[in-house]
């Protein structure tokens, strides 16, 4: 099996490592591909869009002619995990908690609305144990993290968190072959990468 990690910017190596460890746990033979060209999207069975700066990844994807091929690949069923910036890119509606609406490039494949930097700045970044349906207890690392504020259609929100400004927000969203997390599973667990490999195997 081949697992792709979008390698324009962000914690690409951490995702590669999480895929390798997950494959080891499942006893699957796996090759990790760092995706930078549209043609590589056709080779991979599963994709991770890493954490990083969503504005940077969006700008680079647009310039490299990757935005449309990415959107098409994910829409046509490529199992995709987006974490933090990756989750922002996958979402359909994005605002920043301080700056408000910006015109950053998005994939808009996930039926969810997200607020960037929803928990504050780096000083307020945190890690905590979360109870997530289907995953059990997960140690979640939130770095200048976004939060899901709304989902619709086929998207299912997981991990409700109380939020002073937005009421209840969510830590993750699952929609068919897509999983998006506001936190960084690649820094603390293989549970999500294992699930992605299992979805790809089906």
């Amino acid at each position: 099996m081949k697992a792709g990690v979008l390698a324009l910017q962000g914690d690409v190596e951490e995702h590669g490592e999480a895929f390798r460890r997950a494959a080891g746990e499942l006893g699957v033979s796996l090759e990790v591909v760092y995706v930078k060209r549209p043609a590589q999207l056709k080779e991979v069975d599963v994709l991770a869009i890493p954490g990083g700066e969503s504005t940077t990844i969006g700008v680079l994807a647009k310039r490299a002619g990757l935005l449309e091929p990415l959107r098409d690949a994910v829409k046509s069923g490529l199992p995709t995990l987006g974490t933090c910036a990756g989750a922002v890119l996958m979402s359909s509606d994005v605002v920043d908690a301080v700056v408000g609406r910006t015109d950053q490039p998005l994939l808009g494949v996930l039926e969810a609305a997200v607020v960037r930097n929803a928990f504050g700045r780096q000083r307020e970044s945190f890690e905590a144990d979360l109870q997530l349906e289907d995953f059990g207890q997960v140690r979640a690392v939130f770095i200048r993290a976004p939060a899901f504020v709304k989902t619709w259609g086929g998207a299912k929100p997981l991990g409700p968190l109380p939020h002073g400004r937005y009421g209840t927000v969510y830590a993750a969203v699952v929609q068919r072959h897509m999983v998006a997390t506001a936190f960084h599973p690649e820094l603390s667990t293989t549970a999500f990468h294992r699930l992605m490999l299992e979805i790809a195997r089906r």
């Binding site: 910017q9 914690d11 690409v12 990083g52 940077t56 310039r63 700056v99 700045r121 780096q122 109380p162």
Partner: protein, 338 residues
């Protein structure tokens, strides 16, 4: 008299109770950033090293105002570093170089969505306290500013915000990490537009890492212990570096990067990303240059893309630069705080 004093005290006590109630009401109304889970841990090593991990393959740009910060964000920078003067101008101006204006930093934070960094003087604990308090995302304890402590760097373990420190070679890097730095960058020679020193520092750094890795493979524990002793760095950190075959924290290149090809060169030498100081906003074509350097950093391993980036800028627009050999020893910034 006593009655008056106790009345005053009572009024004072009421005032404090009132303030405490107001604080609680504001908190409930969500006026401060909410801690979503009471047991959440902030400022842990994982959280502090997590931010630099997200900056990998990115470009952090020096800026002096909101307009430049917005240009940087639009170009695809992963962060901005707010300074009072660009390193090139610090060099020209002389005198004492200090932390940037708090008002300017706050204004930048209100206008861009990407992480905002700022520099503090080496050893200036209180400039760092101020930056943490206003919510700066990453603090650079920088030799570009005038050091205040000849003996010590800041104890960075005391902060919830991550720090980046400069180095010229491995020992310096390991000392900074042992003081709590969450990220390392080469010092290079800031404000020169000349990448030569950054190249030297990266080759020296990774040459030493390779030697340690070889010692570990040969089971030569003595050499690793010697190295730790000579460097005044913890033995555990030396062995970890040898095991990983790289620094255990994210390592950026900095100092004199002025063109897309400079950035690609530093990535090829093993940098996880780059800081660009005077190179962008001291050039004649900052907007195009910013975009081009972002492109060349992400696609350093794709020569066609580096050509595309290099085409976006003109050598005529690049900052003039300074030959490092023309600088007197006392004019070098890299020898500060080692």
């Amino acid at each position: 008299m006593m009655a008056e004093v106790s009345k005053e005290l009572e009024r004072l006590r009421d005032l404090f109770y009132g303030l405490a109630e107001l604080r609680d009401r504001l908190r409930e109304a969500g006026a401060t950033w909410p801690r979503p889970l009471p047991e959440a841990a902030v400022g842990t090593v994982r959280v502090k090293t997590g931010l630099p991990a997200m900056l990998r393959r990115g470009v952090i740009m020096d800026v002096t105002n909101v307009e430049q910060a917005e240009t940087a964000e639009d170009a695809g920078a992963v962060g901005v570093m707010v300074l009072d003067k660009l390193p090139y101008d610090v060099r020209k101006a002389g005198g004492v170089a200090r932390m940037a204006d708090v008002k300017v930093i706050e204004e930048v934070m209100a206008h861009v969505t990407i992480p905002v960094s700022a520099k503090v003087r080496i050893g200036h604990f209180y400039e760092a306290v101020v930056l943490q308090q206003i919510g700066v995302d990453l603090i650079d304890e920088s030799e570009v500013l005038t050091p205040v402590d000849e003996q010590h760097h800041i104890n960075k373990w005391a902060f919830a915000v991550p720090f980046v420190n400069g180095c010229r070679e491995l020992c310096e890097a390991l000392r900074r990490i042992s003081e709590g730095a969450s990220m390392i960058r080469s010092k290079g020679e800031a404000g020169t537009g000349n990448v030569a020193e950054a190249v030297k520092h990266f080759k020296t750094l990774y040459g030493a890492v390779e030697e340690l890795a070889a010692a570990l493979r040969a089971g030569d524990e003595e050499r690793l212990r010697d190295y730790a002793r000579r460097c005044q760095a913890p033995y555990e950190l030396v062995t970890l570096t040898a095991k990983l075959g790289r620094l255990p924290v994210v390592t950026f290149a900095a100092g004199g990067i002025a063109t897309p090809a400079d950035a690609a060169l530093m990535m090829w030498l093993g940098a996880d990303g780059v800081f660009v100081g005077s190179g962008i906003f001291k050039s004649q074509d900052p907007r195009e240059r910013a975009e081009a350097i972002v492109l060349a950093t992400a696609f350093w391993d794709d020569p066609e893309k580096v050509v595309e980036a290099q085409r976006m800028v003109s050598e005529r627009g690049a900052m003039a630069g300074i030959d490092v050999r023309a600088l007197k020893p006392e004019e070098l910034l890299q020898t500060r705080g080692i």
